[in-house]
């Protein structure tokens, strides 16, 4: 039991330190660069891609943060933007489904790719196939959720 408490305290500390060291720079960088033309170009380019799963330009920035850095940090920006821009619930749902299927694309993929000899096949399955799967699941669930909501309203 004492061992458990010790693990909890030490683990919580390193978890919080990690979140702090990632979340503060992400938020500061977002705030400083959000208005710049270069940042808008990147977000607009990303928005063109994620439009195919039903995400608006407003939702593109939080989705990009989650896709690159992870669900927790993306979730943080989603919470910020729900407050700031009053993101519609449908958009939050789509972002959550997409990001719960694929996030932290570089870090998470590398962790597993490091286990096997490098090949394009491995890269295909771990990265390309997973993103395609995420898009497919997002489209299917959004359609299903839309159907249920419409039926409930009738």
């Amino acid at each position: 039991m004492g061992q458990l408490l010790h693990t909890f305290l030490a683990g919580s500390f390193s978890l919080l330190l990690r979140v702090f060291l990632i979340v503060i720079p992400i938020m500061v960088v977002l705030e400083v660069f959000e208005g710049t033309p270069a940042f808008r170009r990147v977000v607009r380019g990303w928005a063109v891609l994620v439009r195919h799963v039903g995400l608006s330009e407003r939702s593109a920035a939080p989705t990009l943060v989650g896709f690159l850095f992870g669900l927790a940090y993306g979730g943080g920006v989603i919470v910020r933007d729900i407050r700031r821009h009053d993101l519609p619930r449908r958009q939050v749902f789509i972002m959550s489904v997409f990001l719960s299927m694929v996030h932290a694309i570089v870090e998470d993929s590398l962790v597993f790719l490091a286990l096997i000899p490098f090949s394009l096949m491995a890269l295909f399955w771990i990265v390309v196939y997973r993103i395609a799967w995420a898009a497919l699941v997002t489209l299917a669930l959004t359609a299903a959720a839309g159907f249920l909501v419409r039926r409930a309203r009738r």
Binding site: L4, T7, F8, G11, S12, L15, L16, V19, F20, V23, I24, P25, I26, M27, V28, V29, L30, E31, V32, L71, A72, G75, G76, V77, I78, V79, R80, I82, R89, V92, F93, S96, V97, S100, M101, V102, D108, S109, V111, F112, L115, I116, P117, S119, A122, W125, I126, Y129, R130, W133, V137, L141
Partner: protein, 152 residues
């Protein structure tokens, strides 16, 4: 575009830095508040042997993925803990590269379900529904990959 005279670029940068820092601290607090209790629940589950129990229950599923029953352990470790812990317990298994890819897909889609579920809950989603979705969709993606790999 001409700058409005009341805010110089330097002032604007300072204002953005302050806003960013404040947003960062608020987000940090939001995440900390849900992640620490979720992490505690995770540790208790591990402590009471829930991981070993779930891994035993999941053993029969592994053959659908072309994996040995032992592969259920890293899968469940990934679900409850995180991908690093899952990779650690995968190393002991000596799987073939294709098997590693199939198992990796299931874990990459479903992992750290309690902590990440708590974060999803903060943005108004249902943590249980999303946890179930990630387990099912992850296993389905892995099974499909296993099937497709067999064809080529």
């Amino acid at each position: 575009m001409p700058e409005p005279s009341d805010t110089s670029p330097k002032e604007r940068l300072l204002r953005d830095l302050r806003t960013g820092l404040r947003a960062g601290l608020v987000t940090f607090w939001e995440l900390a508040r849900v992640m620490v209790p979720a992490y505690g629940i995770t540790l208790v589950l591990q402590y009471v042997g829930a991981i070993a129990w779930l891994a035993r229950a999941a053993r029969p599923l592994m053959s659908l993925l072309g994996l040995p029953g032992d592969a259920a352990l890293p899968l469940v470790v990934g679900y409850v803990l995180n991908i690093y812990a899952a990779v650690g317990s995968m190393k002991a298994l000596h799987l073939a590269p294709q098997q590693i890819i199939v198992l990796a897909l299931a874990i990459l889609i479903g992992h750290n379900l309690i902590v990440e579920g708590a974060v999803l809950q903060r943005s108004g989603m249902n943590a249980f529904a999303f946890g179930a979705l990630r387990v099912v969709a992850g296993l389905a993606a892995a099974a499909l990959a296993h099937l497709l790999m067999g064809l080529f």
